[in-house]
């Protein structure tokens, strides 16, 4: 970014207060952004005219080389350069008008993608553990549907314990109003995952249903107990059941292909290995998150040390899981070797579509084309009731300041870098969904939440 600050000396150096990506707080909504952008555009054009006049003619041929591209530092995820107080330096660029025009159009295409809004300060009294959690979310230190849900619920336990009902109010009525700014704060760090939404909905139900006559501490303890139960029943135990079910589908000699990293898939592979099954794993990975490396680390360091169990004699430790690692474009060359594909999920929709890490849909599609069975491991608490038709409708962009490579850091006015985080796998590409209630075809997803009663925190 710093290189972009370099401007020909001849230019009227206006204020170049570059806003580093993380500090562009209080980002306005899309509508006002485009308005601000228009204003900025006008000002830039004006500046461009001045620059054109002032620039000595000899300077012109020099320009393209030194790349003083018109639009000054911009964060690609906040491409509008929202705050007009920001750099208004602009050189003469004839294409500028058109470029800006098309850019605003582009923004329209992607305007509904959740751009990560950076913490709008602390509104209301936010519990410190929520503040910390929000930071961890926004920095992708805690990432993944299960991890985020567990972390959120654990943090809420602390919040609930530290909560005291104000006088003339009841816990069942007031606690939720206390929690909702905390939730808002978390969502402002990163859009809420479906898992968090489901868990919070359950929590709300429990809170509103808590007994008014119960002493406050008891009620809080009961709520925390319910949260623990939820984590245990819907996530931990569910994962164990899924491990068990999915392991049965892994045979000796299998080649399991998986994409990126799902905590459940990792557990499945490790437990199958622990059971002594001999199989190999192909890990397919892709930018921006490159989570597959984490999975690789977990798999290659799988057996602690020993495993020299003795039935009658000492057994040698089983060899580590043979792993192959490749990036997504290499998938077509590898899918022919795979005997089954096991994937994780972010959420599951009632039409059977799986919303998951970007790239999952490609893996499932290729697997289907090669008649390789696709298993999706997904706890029932990840079910979402809506129907989704494509991954474009609802998505989330990775903040590019976290996942930027050096080579892409230089900024062209027309170039924007987008890192969508999710995509939607159509149910036709999925053979079966492994849930804690069994292996079910994606078409019967819609019947499952009912079977579980859903009100089972």
């Amino acid at each position: 970014m710093a290189a972009l600050e370099l401007m020909p000396a001849a230019q009227p150096a206006l204020t170049t207060t570059e806003a580093p990506p993380s500090t562009s707080s209080s980002q306005p909504s899309q509508k006002s952004m485009s308005k601000a952008e228009r204003r900025e555009l006008q000002e830039k054009q004006r500046a461009a005219k001045i620059a054109q006049k002032q620039q000595p003619p000899g300077d012109a041929p020099n320009k393209p080389k030194s790349k003083p591209k018109p639009v000054a530092p911009q964060n690609p995820t906040q491409p509008s350069g929202a705050d007009a107080s920001r750099s208004k330096d602009a050189t003469s660029a004839p294409t500028m008008d058109a470029a800006e025009m098309s850019k605003s159009r582009n923004l329209r295409i992607f305007s509904h993608f959740g751009l990560p809004k950076h913490g709008p300060g602390l509104k209301g009294d936010i519990h410190p553990c929520i503040v910390r959690l929000a930071l961890q979310f926004s920095e992708f230190k805690i990432c993944g549907a299960n991890a985020r849900c567990i972390a959120t619920l654990t943090a809420f336990k602390t919040v609930i314990q530290d909560y005291t009902t104000p006088p003339n109010n009841t816990l069942s009525r007031h606690l939720m109003t206390h929690l909702s700014p905390q939730i808002t704060h978390l969502v402002s760090a990163r859009p809420m995952s479906v898992t968090m939404g489901n868990a919070i909905r359950q929590l709300k139900l429990e809170i509103s249903g808590s007994d008014i006559d119960m002493p406050e501490q008891d009620a809080k303890d009961l709520l925390c107990q319910k949260i623990d139960d939820y984590i245990r029943d819907r996530i931990i135990i569910a994962d164990e059941v899924i491990q068990d079910l999915a392991c049965r589908k892994i045979k000796d000699g299998d080649v399991i292909l998986t994409y990126a990293r799902s905590s459940v898939v990792e557990k499945v592979l490790l437990s199958a290995h622990k059971q002594g099954k001999r199989f190999s794993v192909i890990v397919v990975d892709s930018r921006p998150l490159l989570e597959g490396k984490e999975l690789l680390k977990a798999l290659t360091s799988a057996p602690p040390v020993s495993w020299t169990l003795s039935n009658d004699s000492l057994l040698p430790p089983p060899p580590p899981i043979p792993c192959t690692y490749a990036l997504l474009p290499a998938l077509p060359s590898l899918i022919t070797e795979a005997t089954s594909v096991i994937l994780g999920a972010h959420s599951l929709h009632s039409n059977g579509a799986v919303f998951s890490r970007a790239g999952t849909a490609l893996v499932a599609l290729m697997a289907k084309q090669h008649s390789v069975p696709v298993l999706v491991c997904c706890e029932t608490y990840k079910f979402s009731e809506g129907v989704m038709l494509d991954g474009f409708g609802k998505n989330e962009l990775a903040p590019s300041h976290l996942f930027r490579d050096i080579s892409t850091s230089s900024q062209e006015p027309n170039l924007e870098i987008l890192n969508p985080l999710y995509d939607l796998t159509p149910p036709s590409c999925i053979t079966a969904v492994v849930t804690e209630v069994g292996l079910i075809p994606p078409s019967s997803i819609s019947s499952i939440p009912m079977a579980l009663g859903r009100i089972s925190l």
């Binding site: 930018r287 921006p288 192959t324 997504l328 474009p329 290499a330 077509p332 060359s333 490609l362 490579d405």
Partner: protein, 370 residues
Amino acid sequence: MASEVSNTPTQRAVENLAWKLRRRQIVGSRATALETLLVLRHVISKSRFSNMEQLVTIIRGVGRRLVEAQPKEHSVGNTVRKVLHHIREEYHTATRGSAAASYSGFSISKFVLLGQPRKNTPLPKAESKGTLKENDPDDPDSFARSLKPVLMEAIQDVLDELETVYDNVSKNAQNHIHSDEIILTLGMSKTVEAFLISAAHHRNYTVMVLETAPSYGGRDMAQALSAAGISTFLVPDSSLYGLMSRVNKVILGAHAILANGGMFAITGSLLAATAAHAHSTPVVVCAGQFKLTPLWNLYHEYGALDFGDPSQVLGFEEGSLVDKVDVVNPFYDYVQPNLIDAFITNDGDHPPSSIYRLIKETYDDEDNEL
């Protein structure tokens, strides 16, 4: 066969190129084609021959040497084949006059093609030739002397075609791209770049460029396109499927176009073509005709023919992983013809089903094995 090339400077030129190809100092279809052509011109101008067979043997020898040096660069062999084809054409026009026009003109499609500009060039030269004497015992060089200027002209034709390939591929670009379309492309292809930039002169549209790991050629492409004033999005490969529902057209480059209408292209192409197929999005391939290769995919139906550096995928900074994991980095994909909707070449647009015909017309059958 190098013995055919008697004089050492020629041999040196050939060996020089062979080593450059082998060391991958020259990469890319067009660069290799150009270099091959220059070497062939050098060889023809320097070598001595007294009849047609000798000349063909010399060129084939050189061609074989170069192809063996780098079998993955198909355009080397293609250029040799094309030069051989042109030489024979010139030879026949020189010996039999205008009757030679009927040579290899047995297909009705050839007849149709004569109306096209490229085919017009070789024919009018037939008049200027005098009588050619092969194997003249008194003056063994007379054949070479009288034929060489024509051959140089023929090679110049091929050279011109190579040099204008980007312009000719992109001349109809605005017919393929409409206003407000969203185009998806990947990798760094000069042909596609020229095509998109040419279309941008007439149309206002958006391009999404996949990064195309692990080479990340897409980043260069995105830079080049955005510098040309096209609104460009650089997206990671993983978002391909998610974005495909909004993409109107997928435009790909090719490494080599095969006789069945399939192609070899940078890894990621097959994934993009498959995803496009699933969304019924048209897939268009931009390529010069020097990429037409009289080969079938003899390797595997899917998969790599060539492998890149694994450290691009998993670098040595991941020290603890590197020795425990197999890392795969295939360089090319094979894209089947059924996934491709059209080839846009410097000589018109063709469906994959008619590629075999183009190949028949561009090369002589006897040269398919050099």
